[in-house]
């Protein structure tokens, strides 16, 4: 892929009082630096989480697109990962405990990396998205998303419960 990440005036990322900041070298010839308050968003939150991160300023413009988080220096990376963790509330399903249908609503009880949770889904054909053979994203009636990182790695009971729907 082409390099999207422009490093010319980029110096670092840091956490300020108002959240994440990106610090650039001044480009007007003067010495010094200037910081812009940004919020990080995954460019492809469903299919490519963990890949490209865009930094958006208060006027909703992309000021920097980072396509390789690993290329950042350690403190910048830590600041970015903290900010991302604070923004994205997508649990990963570890086990599917039960799925039942009542009056056309499918109820899921799942154990996630954030604890056990129950949610309701309508029309599984529209609300279960397979990214590939193994990864899937479930969407509940409210629009909350739940990730299945590797369907094949779920235990037997989970796959049996899911087979009723998926």
């Amino acid at each position: 892929m082409d390099q999207l990440f422009t490093t010319e005036s980029f110096l670092r990322l840091e956490t300020g009082a108002d959240g994440l900041r990106v610090v650039f070298a001044r480009d007007d010839g003067e010495d010094g630096e200037h910081a812009v308050a940004v919020r990080p968003v995954w460019a492809r939150p469903i299919s490519g989480e963990g890949r490209e991160v865009s930094l958006i300023d208060e006027r909703r413009r992309d000021v920097l697109l980072i396509d390789d988080v690993d290329a950042l220096d350690r403190p910048s990376r830590a600041a970015l990962e903290d900010a991302l963790a604070a923004r994205y509330l997508v649990p990963t399903v570890r086990r599917i405990l039960a799925t039942q249908a009542h009056l056309g609503v499918r109820f899921w009880t799942v154990e996630t990396d954030r604890g056990v949770h129950r949610f309701a889904m309508r029309e599984p054909t529209r609300n279960v998205t397979w990214l590939d053979e193994r990864r899937a994203v479930l969407r509940d009636v409210l629009g909350n998303r739940y990730r299945i990182a590797d369907f094949a790695a779920l235990d037997e009971a989970s796959r049996a419960a899911a087979a009723k729907v998926l």
Binding site: R87, V90, G104, R114, R118, D140, V141
Partner: protein, 739 residues
């Protein structure tokens, strides 16, 4: 069961004891004012984290640990922020952001309100709670709801749905009762022949054959009665279910016309249409095929069981032996079948969608030379459908035969035990009884294997019925009980501190103040998303304001009869919706009784008369897919003609000229000039030059009025409007240069 609880109660839930104790020991201890439990903790794990607002400040408590506590004296702001999959409330304390709560999307509206409460408290204002708020969880069993404010799928009593369905039959009571009687009669005609068989056998073997011809005549009579009863029953069922579904559809349609626009805002049109057609069709199919099946078979099942026990309890017990196997086998089979049916549904949907895209998108496919890829995509979808069809047939194959085998075993068992006992003689059980037994047993076994299938059918039909009833239960637009019946509307419009949000937590209008005198022409200007279209939507009362007031002729619009209000407002939209009807009927839409001369006059004023006559079929030209295609400018001017004929006191032009070329725009401008005269006009315009004639221009930015004045005054002021205008002129110049 309903999830709409008074809002005050939602924000006054008692804290758990140990959390309350922890709060009392904290820096913000004091009288509790508001509480709210989140569904996520601050570290994003599922679990309750309580936010407590006391008279002194705000605290977040998880279990018995106070995670965050801030006194109002240190808080400068409280805001709810949207996150991916939920949100967060953060306080501004000494210039820094302090998160106090994380929550999933289930609680976004609640925490938006809480953020405002805290903000109000921190600034010494008395917090205002909205009147109603639809929760995302069932108030009784806490299960997630199918949608905000809906009935709980777990708590809604099935009996009530059935009663409502039966209630729909009330107008056809006589037919329904007749059907029930005929059904019982049908069952009886089926049950008599095996008993007659027994009597015939007994008479013949005992030598007394005098009764036999009559018995045989009775058998034929039963068959004839069965035939007649079934014919009548089929006619009645078809009529009743057809009538019921037609009634449901027309009631659904009528209800939807009166539903608040916010209901439609949350759904796509396809889903709504599907609900009207599919759910009612599913219900109809169940009522025609499923319900009679359950009634007839349920009734005969009980009757046969009683007869078998009456003839010989021991042999009856033998008959019942394979029943669990039959029901269990049916259930097992059905469980395998259902996912396959679902898969067929979604895969044939995929084939349809691919075909549909290929046909509708044929230009794009050809232009990008992607025919082979489309063909591959179609073949793939097609093969996947074939695969699942195949496994369905394979699952089906063998099932019936297997069930037949189990039933045959039961029958063989009966023959064996029965014939031994009949041969031994001495007991009351004779060979005739055995014959009757065998006759009943097949009738008894037959429907059992479909028990589970019909049960799940019943569940689906109930789900469809429940979705339909949910629409009936939606609040509809209604006039205020003390509506002010003005004879006519002059056209003074005033907005006073109007606040509005489509979704709680995301305010679109943040206090709009505008007043427009009758007959005045006002232009609304602002970036897209600034709230212009929302303002005119509120004036038409498509939505209700969160706070503030909109008045027409000094009367709050909620107090005006909807009919009068909307008759007095005419709207010309950017992409007007025209109905699949003739040009003349479309122009007449707002005033169906208008004469043809009036239609022509309106078309002339809208500068579209000549263009209409240029069509082969003139005013009879049908607009729509199958009819002649009209250009965007023609459609626009037909919509203007429609508005002219409608003759509203208040005219709304929503980007009426932005989608057409300069030539057409000139014609439309002229048409609009004719339309505007003498009416209160609110025009949203993208091309600022079109507002040169406006009496006043109001500039909206971020949900507020930021500038107001005449074209010239605003240019002189050199503010928002002037900079917007400069930007646009610059664009035009580069455009012209490029051309």
């Amino acid at each position: 069961m309903s999830s709409i609880t008074p809002v005050a109660a939602r924000f006054a839930q008692p804290l758990p004891a140990r959390s309350a104790a922890a709060l009392d020991a904290s820096a913000v201890a004091g009288a509790l004012r508001f509480t709210l439990a989140s569904d996520l903790r601050l570290d994003h794990a599922y679990g309750a984290s309580w936010v407590a607002v006391t008279e002194r400040g705000v605290a977040t408590i998880e279990g018995d640990v106070v995670r965050v506590a801030h006194a109002f004296t240190t808080i400068t702001a409280a805001r709810a922020h949207e996150l991916f999959g939920g949100g967060r409330v953060a306080l501004t304390v000494a210039g820094a952001q302090q998160p106090i709560a994380c929550f999933s999307r289930a609680l976004v509206p609640e925490f938006a309100i809480l953020a405002r409460i805290i903000d109000d408290c921190a600034h010494g204002r008395e917090p205002l709670l909205p009147e109603e708020l639809a929760g995302a969880h069932c108030a009784r069993c806490a299960a997630p709801l199918p949608e905000r404010g809906a009935l709980c799928a777990l708590c809604v009593p099935r009996g009530r749905i059935l009663m409502r369905l039966v209630g729909l039959l009330a107008p056809y009571r006589a037919r329904a009762i007749a059907l029930a009687c005929i059904t019982a009669f049908t069952v009886a005609t089926q049950l008599i022949p095996p008993y007659l068989t027994k009597l015939v056998h007994d008479d013949v073997t005992r030598g007394g054959g005098a009764r036999v011809p009559w018995l045989i005549l009775g058998m034929a009579g039963c068959a004839a009665s069965y035939l007649c009863a079934r014919l009548v029953a089929i006619r009645l069922t078809t009529y009743l279910s057809g009538r019921l579904v037609a009634d449901l559809r027309s009631r659904l349609h009528a209800t939807m016309q009166r539903l608040r626009l916010s209901w439609f805002g949350k759904r796509d049109a396809g889903e709504v249409v599907q609900r009207v057609m599919n759910d009612t069709a599913e219900l109809q199919q169940f009522l025609v095929d499923g319900l009679p099946y359950i009634l007839v078979n349920g009734l005969s099942f009980i009757a046969i069981a009683a007869i078998l026990i009456a003839i010989d309890p021991l042999l009856a017990a033998l008959v019942f032996l394979p029943v669990p196997l039959l029901v269990g086998g049916g259930a097992w089979f059905w469980r395998k079948l259902v996912p396959l049916y679902h898969a067929i549904g979604s895969r044939s949907g995929a084939v349809h969608a691919t075909l549909d895209e290929s046909v509708h998108g044929i230009r794009a496919v050809k232009a990008f030379a992607q025919e082979p890829r489309r063909a591959r995509a179609f073949d793939q979808a097609n093969d996947r459908l074939f695969g699942v069809r195949l496994s369905l047939e394979r699952t089906f194959g063998g099932f019936n035969e297997g069930m037949f085998f189990v039933m045959s075993l039961g029958v063989a068992g009966v023959w064996w035990v029965g014939s031994t006992r009949a041969a031994a003689g001495g007991s009351a059980f004779g060979f005739g009884d055995l014959l009757a037994f065998v006759g009943y047993i097949w009738m008894f076994y037959g429907p059992l294997q479909w028990f589970t299938a019909v049960f799940s059918w019943l569940t689906n039909a109930f789900a469809a019925a429940e979705r339909i009833f949910a629409v009936f239960d939606q609040p509809i637009e209604a006039d205020h009980p003390q509506a002010v019946r003005l004879p006519a509307i002059r056209g003074d419009v005033a907005f006073a501190d109007v606040r509005f949000s489509y979704e709680r937590g995301k305010e679109v209008l943040k206090g709009v103040d505008v007043s427009i005198a009758a007959g005045e022409f006002v232009g609304l200007v602002g970036r897209s998303g600034s709230g212009k279209s929302t303002i005119i939507g509120l004036l038409s009362r498509f939505y209700g304001v969160d706070s503030g007031a909109i008045s027409v002729d000094g009367v709050a619009i909620e107090r005006l009869p909807l009919d009068l209000l909307r008759r007095s407002i005419g709207v010309v939209m950017q992409e007007p919706f025209l109905f699949n009807d003739t040009v003349a009927e479309n122009i007449r839409f707002g005033r169906p009784d208008a004469s043809f001369a009036e239609v022509v006059r309106a078309a002339k004023a809208a500068c579209v008369h000549d263009a209409i006559l240029d069509k082969e079929e003139g005013y009879d030209t049908v607009i729509g897919d199958s009819g002649a295609r009209l250009s965007g400018g023609e459609r626009q001017r037909i919509a203007i003609a429609r508005a002219i004929l409608h003759d509203p006191r208040i005219l709304i032009l929503d980007e009426a000229t932005s989608a057409v070329d300069n030539e057409t725009e000139r014609a439309i401008q002229e048409a609009i000039g004719n339309l505007v005269r003498g009416r209160t006009t609110i025009a949203i315009a993208h091309r600022l030059s079109t507002l040169r004639d406006a009496d006043r221009i109001v500039v909206i930015d971020d949900g507020r009025v930021v500038e107001e004045g005449t074209h010239a005054a605003l240019i002189a002021r050199d503010g928002h409007f002037a900079s917007l205008l400069r930007l646009q002129e610059e664009n035009n110049r580069t455009h012209d240069q490029a051309a």
